[in-house]
């Protein structure tokens, strides 16, 4: 294993004809972390992963994968990683079991015990022909094939979009075990609970460009906390605080949103007015992402530089 990060992308460009799919994308995934890769549909997540797999040729920028060039060294690098596509299609006339073995052998060997264990955990019927599998079951086949291989890096493109909650939790356990062995995962996902539960760091991209990258705590830092309080006296000073938004005062009750940076000051104002009841709700992931996915984005991106 190299000393560098398993995935290092800087200023990556890729266009299809006139469509600019990636426009100066940056992404660094460190050794041993589960990295969430988020963005609205069509923002370039799958394109990035396919460049990393050497399926697409970059137009510009720097891409390093496991200390190699994903285009030139594709085959050698692929022995050290496993990939689960977002839209799993399998050979209709092969059974699930055959596909798992085939993909494992193509990568250089199957750990039979581990394979059996995973088939059992994911409750997969390996004797069924791929033609007859549902979307979720096709995904399980690809997941078992990927997880049963002994690799350093997993590239997962929305791997659980068809799984039921039970299987989702099996998947999360498997990723935990994988991470416990010091391995690295790039996980593209729209399931925010999954991201919150699994990811150490996340990168959010929009229209082919990285707009945020950092730990969830760091990202939360960029957003607002909702506060509701009942006070002994009106807190008129709140209105003059720069970081307080959407302030509603009804007699002794106040509700407002406050930027994380101003939180302490705002609570100070409340304290001086005399707090009777107080609820403060941290920003939910949904709010976080809605802000980043939505149109508000440009200001947000300008307001705070991306934490390293």
């Amino acid at each position: 294993m190299g000393v560098n990060s398993p995935i290092e992308i800087a200023g990556l460009n890729k266009s299809f004809g006139r469509t600019q799919a990636l426009d100066g994308l940056d992404l660094t995934v460190d050794q041993g972390e589960v990295h969430g890769f988020l963005g609205p549909n069509g923002s370039g997540k799958s394109t990035t992963i396919r460049v990393l797999l050497g399926l697409l040729r970059k137009d510009g920028g720097e891409v390093r994968l496991l200390d190699g060039d994903p285009w030139r060294d594709a085959a050698a690098l692929h022995r050290r990683l496993a990939y689960v596509p977002g839209d799993v299609t399998l050979w209709p006339n092969l059974t699930g079991g055959e596909v798992i073995d085939l993909l494992g052998r193509l990568r250089g060997g199957v750990d039979t015990r581990r394979r059996e264990e995973l088939v059992e955990r994911f409750e997969l019927d390996p004797t069924k022909r791929a033609r007859g599998y549902s979307k979720g079951n096709r995904q399980k086949v690809a997941l078992v094939a990927a997880l049963a291989s002994d690799v350093e890096l997993l590239l997962l493109d929305e791997p659980t979009s068809g799984l039921d909650p039970l299987m989702e939790s099996v998947f999360q356990d498997c990723i935990d075990e994988f991470k416990d062995r010091g391995r690295t995962v790039l996980l593209s996902s729209h399931i925010l609970a999954e991201v919150e539960r699994l990811c150490d760091r996340v990168s959010i991209i929009r229209t082919g460009r990285t707009v945020e990258s950092g730990t969830l705590a760091e990202l939360r830092h960029l957003t607002r906390t909702s506060v509701a309080a009942e006070l002994a006296a009106p807190a008129t000073a709140l209105a003059s605080l720069a970081g307080v938004h959407d302030l509603v005062s009804e007699g002794h009750r106040v509700r407002f949103e406050v930027d994380t940076a101003t939180l302490d000051e705002a609570i100070g104002v409340l304290h001086r007015a005399g707090v009777r009841t107080l609820t403060a709700t941290p920003p939910t992931l949904e709010e976080l992402f809605l802000r980043h996915y939505g149109d508000e984005l440009p200001q947000a991106a300008q307001a705070e530089p991306t934490p390293a």
Binding site: L55, D101, L103, L106, R129
Partner: protein, 523 residues
């Protein structure tokens, strides 16, 4: 049936160019014959002489059909075009039906349609209507183009109507096949088998036992005797067969689930067999069925040709003049027949080779290539294993044809030596077959959506073989077909230099495809 009209319009919208090209191609097949034959012979005496020679050539009869009134333009058009025209409309019908029924079901798009306000039978009926419209279009264009030449109106109409009905029979066959199998590929295989068998059976029938010609739609079409004592009643057989097959298709459809075939899926092995351990293993596994199917088909075709070859001399009839001419033109009659048979076997194998060279494209389109290429297989290795199966498969398929030819001949003549000799001689055509695959691979490497144009290579080779003489193609135009460069064994002796040159051309085309593939985006 609710929604059939909407679907018909939607299908026509998707198919308009496809239909246009098929219709023009089919029409051109007939019309170009009429035009070219018309200006070919200066005097009727010359025409008569040429006709006598053709009539007495069993190889040509096996290829085209019963030789009748060959000293007339109409007779020539019927003879040269009817069998191939029937194959063209057969393939057209098969693709139209497959694309809108089983293909849609397999991909799951059909489900989306069926969730709309659409009756159970509407998609199938719409496919039938579109296929019928296409066949009527081809038939009408053929009839009109021949009338415009001008040829006799009633006989021109008969050729058109017979062609349309032939197409409808194969439409029915394709509809039945679409109900039986869950995979589109298998459905095409089944239908193609019926079309090929119809052609081969009538070949045997026309040369030998005439009763066999009465077992196939192509035979019925030719038995209408257009331009040589026209009779309409065989058309009734065609109409009845079309009606009956469509009826069967609907009956089967009522008894099956959407998305499934009649032949139910059985559980398969939970573990992969030892052979499924590399991209070679995968490529072989994916094409195994197709190699076996084509081999059986070619074996049967070889057997059919081999069984009649030795009679070639007898079929000459009493015409001493014709015999002299044949010998002067191409040497031994029996050898000439087998040379022609081997060329046809090679052209048929070209069909396998091209469809096999198209497999990588199918794999890429379906997203399977992506999964395999993400496992540590290099593109080179992945493509090479596909190429390997194409090359070995082509040799096996072609060899099976030669084997059939030899075995049947050995059974007839008692000379066991022909088994090995014919198999080897047939295999000398392999480089030309591989050029067709190489061309397809080059197109695929450059841009996957161009790959299907590889079929044009085969079409061109057929045109050169069948019509270059009659249409007086200049040499350079003929030399574009790889089949023109190889020695026509056993009439000519094997030419190892030509063999090596054509093989080198095939390798070069493939290498070009590989070069382009390693430099473009995949998926």
């Amino acid at each position: 049936m609710t929604g059939t009209g909407v679907l018909v319009r939607a299908f026509l919208r998707r198919d308009r160019w496809l239909l246009l090209w098929w219709a023009l191609g089919g029409t051109l097949l007939y019309w170009s014959q009429a035009i070219s034959v018309k200006g070919l012979y200066a005097t009727q005496a010359e025409f008569d002489r040429a006709a006598t020679m053709m009539e007495s050539n069993p190889a040509l009869i096996a290829m085209a059909g019963p030789a009748r009134a060959l000293n007339t333009v109409g007779g020539q058009v019927t003879w040269q075009s009817a069998a191939f025209g029937a194959i063209v409309v057969g393939l057209m019908s098969m693709f139209i039906v497959g694309r809108h029924t089983r293909g849609e079901e397999e991909s799951g798009r059909d489900e989306l349609l069926r969730a709309g306000v659409v009756g159970r039978r509407a998609p199938m009926t719409a496919a039938l209507v579109v296929a019928a419209m296409a066949n009527i279009l081809v038939g009408a264009l053929v009839a009109l183009s021949l009338i415009s030449v001008p040829l006799a109106v009633a006989d021109s109409l008969a050729l058109g109507v017979g062609l349309t009905l032939c197409g409808l029979v194969f439409t029915g066959v394709a509809l039945v096949a679409a109900q039986l199998t869950a995979a589109t590929r298998t459905m095409y295989g089944l239908t193609g088998l019926v079309i090929a068998a119809s052609y081969a059976l009538r070949a045997v029938g026309d040369v030998g036992n005439e009763a066999l010609s009465w077992l196939t739609p192509i035979g019925w079409y030719q038995q209408m005797y257009a331009f040589s004592g026209l009779r309409w009643w065989p058309a009734l057989l065609l109409a009845a067969a079309a009606f009956f097959t469509v009826l069967v298709a609907y009956a089967v459809f009522e008894r099956r689930d959407i998305g499934a075939g009649v032949l139910a899926a059985r559980p398969g092995p939970a573990r992969a067999g030892a052979s499924l351990n590399s991209s070679w293993g995968l490529a072989w596994r994916l094409q195994r069925g197709s190699v076996i199917g084509w081999s059986v088909g070619l074996l049967a075709t070889g057997l059919a040709y081999g069984s009649i070859g030795n009679d070639a001399g007898d079929l000459m009839g009493d015409s001493e003049a014709a015999r002299d001419m044949m010998v002067a033109a191409g040497g031994d009659l029996v050898d000439g027949f087998f040379a022609m048979a081997m060329t046809i076997l090679a052209l048929l194998t070209g069909g396998f080779a091209i469809s096999s060279a198209l497999r990588p494209r199918g794999e890429e389109d379906a997203g399977h290539a992506e999964v395999v290429l993400a496992t540590g297989q290099s593109r080179t290795r992945w493509l090479l294993s596909q190429v390997g199966v194409t090359v070995v498969g082509s040799a096996v398929v072609l060899g099976a044809g030669g084997l059939g030819l030899g075995v049947a001949d050995a059974l007839v003549t008692g000379d066991e030596g022909t088994v090995g000799a014919f198999t080897w001689q047939t295999l000398t055509w392999l480089p030309a077959v591989l050029v067709l695959a190489g061309l397809t691979r080059l197109l695929y490497g450059v841009a996957p959506r161009l790959a299907t144009l590889g079929w044009l290579g085969l079409a061109y080779a057929v045109v050169v073989l069948m019509f270059a003489e009659i249409l007086r193609f200049p040499d350079w135009l003929r030399s574009l077909s790889p089949f023109e460069h190889l020695a026509a064994v056993p009439v000519e002796s094997f030419d190892s230099a030509a063999f090596a040159t054509v093989l080198a051309a095939a390798t070069l085309l493939s290498a070009g495809g590989w070069f382009a593939l390693t430099r473009r985006d995949v998926g």
